[in-house]
Symmetry: C2
Subunit: 142 residues, 2 copies
Amino acid sequence: MLTRIDHIGIACFDLDKTVEFYRATYGFEVYHSEINEEQGVREAMLRINGTSDGGASYLQLLEPTREDSAVGKWLAKNGEGVHHIAFGTEDVDGEAADIREKGVRVLYDEPRKGSMGSRITFLHPKDCHGVLTELVTSGTEH
Amino acid sequence: MLTRIDHIGIACFDLDKTVEFYRATYGFEVYHSEINEEQGVREAMLRINGTSDGGASYLQLLEPTREDSAVGKWLAKNGEGVHHIAFGTEDVDGEAADIREKGVRVLYDEPRKGSMGSRITFLHPKDCHGVLTELVTSGTEH
């Protein structure tokens, strides 16, 4: 079961400037930041609210660390904007298997490492009405 | 203060098919549907989770009712995908005024009618790092 909007992933050219925009305009602060070498991104998580499943919803601001990363290629094509949306679940492995069974392409054979020690996978946007969709099981890191 | 991710607005060509995709794939059900003549959209709200400010987060699926509506033009240019994101606040008028003061273009002089009796306004995506951003104060309709 998917029990929350975990985050909205937003691609940007300059993470520091974008973080500053969200702070100055709305008062949102950085809750966590990290570099994910595998995904080729520097990221900042802004925590917006708690959720009824005991988790939280974030904005995830993403700057590519290399042009040939998925986010780097996407930015070159689309410019800045919403890159993906993510739903939280207690069981990313089970959900991914169920959804694959329904004929939706799951991009990873096994979930990979996401923000704050989470485990994540992605669904093909062409199978999801144009929306790159992530499934997340939270980790315990902050 | 913006206290939650209120919804993610997703533009689609066929609302019924897209609703069915979200139901069959994830088990998300329609919480509310309506036609907003002013915005030129038919929409379905899928409630995903409750939020720590006493509200909720939704997916808002949008099908244009006419080609010359904002969503119709956006779809013709971009195809299906995430159209906007929306933050919830108790005071859309005050937030819009504060944000306008900071130099971000607010698209309406006064908030207009949104889903379920809410009052909404939009911020110019070029002033928000490519993200069309909505501010919402919830109504009491369902």
